[in-house]
Symmetry: C2
Subunit: 220 residues, 2 copies
Amino acid sequence: MNTKAPAETTPLRVTTDVVIFTINEHRLQLLLRRQDGADNAWAFPGGFMGPDQDLQLCALEALARDTGISGVYLEQLYTFDWPDPDQGDRVIHVAFYALTPWDRLQGLAGDVNTQWFPMDQLPALSREQIMVVEAAQQRLVAKLDYSTIAYEFMSESFTLSQLQAVYEIIRREKLDKRNFRKQVLGLHHIEATDKFRRNGSHRPARLYRKIHPGQVTIIK
Amino acid sequence: MNTKAPAETTPLRVTTDVVIFTINEHRLQLLLRRQDGADNAWAFPGGFMGPDQDLQLCALEALARDTGISGVYLEQLYTFDWPDPDQGDRVIHVAFYALTPWDRLQGLAGDVNTQWFPMDQLPALSREQIMVVEAAQQRLVAKLDYSTIAYEFMSESFTLSQLQAVYEIIRREKLDKRNFRKQVLGLHHIEATDKFRRNGSHRPARLYRKIHPGQVTIIK
DNA sequence: TTGAATAAGTGTAAGACATACACTATCACA
DNA sequence: TGTGATAGTGTATGTCTTACACTTATTCAA
């Protein structure tokens, strides 16, 4: 809180940058959009803020405008200040990260200028962009352990194997099936449905659903 | 990252707000400064950002200017956007929190307009200011568990009872002395010195020091 | 119809970590 | 030399974490 006379203050440009993740084809993927006017340069969805906007809203609207995506989990990540590569003056980047189940993306407008990239096959990005992606990924990995954030990647109903795969993909390690189930079910954040998922020539898997959909809570 | 033409963008005023904590008289305390021109309104140390400044530097310089304090642990907390109470337009507040041992504050310039307040005796603050303080306190409590942040409150050498007191004050609960020592020493972040602290009529306490001073690391 | 392939689903024992708990040691001071 | 005050120390119990292998339900092809 600071109340110096506005005369002493220099206005700055402020943007929101959104790192949006999904999981598809057994990989963590990230959405980028082609930078205006550049063919081979990519940017995060996001937009400059106006004085009557709200940071969160600015990020959500930018996401919707650039990608057609709405209603996703969105969390503020960190605020970076870097020189604008075009103009040289400083721009404040309020970075967010967002998560969505892959199957909510079907049938979206999806600008031709946006594209999902697996995290291990990202196009060339600036040092600054890489810092943002890494911060988002670190936060995601950390939050897996102490929040119900993983469910933001799941459809309305899902099997325990699918849920386990999300943890394995994000943490880049195999987990023990029995221990995983014990732990997950012990938290009582999900409940069994009476439906099953039949795919392939093997025993069908029971479907589960979140007990409190749309809420990310802190565990422990 | 966003590269829309600057013509479309509206500049905003950006400030840093610093919540600086210390521990003194067995209480967590917070530094506020009197708002310019107001006798009974208090503000966080902080300042408006210029286009050639750096967020972190802006916060550090504001701290030094307002309070004479330098060289403290400083971490970015969260970015808030609220209407300016004076002008009505929106101001971006990048909040930081800082920690310092009490004994580093002795002999500082210490503007007459700054004052330390125990957390349970804060003066009247705005809703927004209260949100910032609560966010900082939450982060502090959380980080006690998984980082070496507590040492930022300690002098160069300290007793285990002093360290335990820091945990107890921040977490607002008594801890078991033997278990506390077992855990803390087991992490090997501190080492015994051959010095003792004699105060009062009782057995002197051994002094310990950080093995890697000035580094806050993540535990586990 | 039956066997092979495939993923789903299930329990237990051992080890690691967290918790609860009480007495002795050392000093200052009266 | 006795009293008051804080420092310093170990063990037993319970809880959580980890490692580990076989049976079940289904599809498909022979």
